[in-house]
Symmetry: C2
Subunit: 332 residues, 2 copies
């Protein structure tokens, strides 16, 4: 089958591309062609299936029509202006996150005018659709009340995907991803960055700052788990979801103290000493408004699987990013 990934140059996009190349499939089905689009031309491993490698702005006119012209069987729509960007650039956020998604849906609908076309659409949504106040564990029936423009635009995309699916224009699912941890790469300035920094940096012998109390609890999935959700969503019979096509993905609820305990078990006490307590009330206040835990019954019943815990999240990171071993200077 033919698969299209938008936002293919992003972190999840690259990991998904790699895993499709390795498995030669998305879910259980063989991938014969893989179209990749992003604002910069996405790269792919040599063994990835051939297909378009497209630099395109999803918010520009005609981009969506070009993307679906080859009639991909599965579209994984990851392209987005992330949280801080959509907050800083109001119009651009609505253009990319709302109009970009809508233009993709409408291009699919238009493509069906010439001959039947009813692709699977997998949309990456986020726990940023939730805003405080909420219960300690958020259930599947809890309202989406975002506190950012990004979260607002993601819920709007979810709603359209449920409606377009109900109307028979496509077969869509929205995956509300937990905070991804450990994010590979360099430390970044996102308010959530420290959750990854305090594990990733000590694993390679570098210091990292912790701006919040160790009692801070949050909701996590590894990059590997997130890619696994997408593979699973590609195979699933979405009729089982009924009309509610947005799902809270399973994750690991953990405190910073539990993250650090896992780091200690995997990399030793010395690694944990590289975490520098540097309280930042501003970041602590932002994080206090984030979800801490979920009861993801629907997703679990549909077969979506979380990481087993933070030890596994650390081990997956070491396998995937550090060639399976820790640098000598990080060992106890």
């Amino acid at each position: 089958m033919r698969v299209l990934i938008t936002g293919a140059a992003g972190m999840i996009g690259r990991k998904l591309t790699e895993s499709i190349a390795t498995r030669a499939s998305l879910g259980e089905r063989e991938v014969s062609a893989l179209d990749l689009a992003d604002t910069l031309v996405p790269t792919a491993p040599d063994d990835a299936p051939g297909g378009l490698r497209l630099a395109a702005d999803i918010a520009a006119p005609d981009t969506a029509a070009r993307l679906v012209a080859n009639r991909p069987d599965v579209i994984v729509h990851l392209a987005a202006l992330p949280s801080a960007g959509a907050e800083d650039f109001f119009e651009r956020g609505y253009a990319i996150n709302l109009d970009g998604t809508r233009s993709l849906l409408d291009a699919i609908r238009a493509e069906a005018h010439s001959a039947p076309y009813h692709p699977r659409l997998i949309f990456s949504s986020t726990i940023a659709v939730f805003g405080a106040p909420f219960p300690d564990r958020i259930g599947d029936d809890f309202l989406a009340a975002p506190l950012t423009s990004y979260g607002t635009q993601k819920v709007m995309g979810e709603l359209m995907i449920s409606d377009y699916s109900r109307r028979g224009f496509l077969d869509g699912i929205s995956l509300r991803l937990p905070t991804i941890c450990i994010r590979p790469g360099k430390p970044n300035l996102a308010a959530s960055g420290f959750f990854s920094n305090i594990l990733r940096e000590p694993l390679i012998g570098q210091e990292a700052e912790l701006p919040v109390p160790e009692t801070t609890r949050h909701w996590f999935a590894s990059p590997r788990a997130a890619v696994g959700f997408i593979h699973h969503a590609a195979d699933l019979d979405l009729a089982r979801l009924g009309p509610r096509r947005a799902l809270n993905m399973p994750g690991v609820s953990a405190t910073v103290a539990e993250q650090i305990d896992a780091l200690r078990r995997i990399a030793g006490e010395k690694a944990t000493r590289l975490i520098i307590r540097k309280p930042d009330p501003k970041i602590a206040a932002i994080v206090a408004g984030w979800p801490r835990d979920f009861d993801t019954r629907r997703a679990s019943e549909l077969g979506f699987r979380a990481d087993a815990g933070f030890d596994d999240i650390l081990l997956a990171h070491i396998e995937d990013e550090l060639q399976g071993s820790l640098p000598v200077n990080a060992r106890t």
Copy 2:
């Protein structure tokens, strides 16, 4: 102050216009100018405040800019393609209900470029944002999961209004209105029409068909209560809502049997004999997917008030639509 009503020729729009004319105010504040817009030129009572009387398509370019050019202090946005229309005309529904609302929000934002402008925006939303399955009583934290394109577009409007309010572009509130009963006028073919027909027609000595069992429970507000919500929303300090600017309005939860009991008390046994049982499984199936009851704690704490019960709903209808008395042939 200056007030703009979009969809002013609709049922709620006309009743709101009349009440503004009668009170010479919206909420507690005097109305010096009243702009009315709809697809056909709206009419107003002679004693209504002067202002624009505009035939305009809210989905057309520049309509929104024209509407806000006079900088109304309060905008009551009622214009919409209703449920059946948005289901039958997919693109038109998104154009009017989503793009129309968004263009109004963006016109407000653009108007503020030349000089500060931060109007109150009151958006008529609907319990059609909810879709089965739901609990017997829907609480304030329950998710919006619409089963119609109309409901989808209304939630999307709510989300934008919360986001634009949070960003400081306007001061918005979305009122999720119960099913309006008794709708004045003629019987119509909407699936919900019978809830009004079985009261309104017998009150004037006419027969009306009942397509569902008498045990059917639903959620209602009179036109008078709906207009009252808008007056109340015009005065309210919306900072009290926090970032969640969409509110389930209070209403009356009643079965069809309770409706008929009220009709018997107000108009006598003879009136109830004009209700013809004519079961329609298709309508019964649609109505089975509708909300039955709400716990509207937030709205009640903010001072929104429902009708006291169906006797009051009937008496209000007789006062407002039948000059305060029943025709002789409808009396017992």
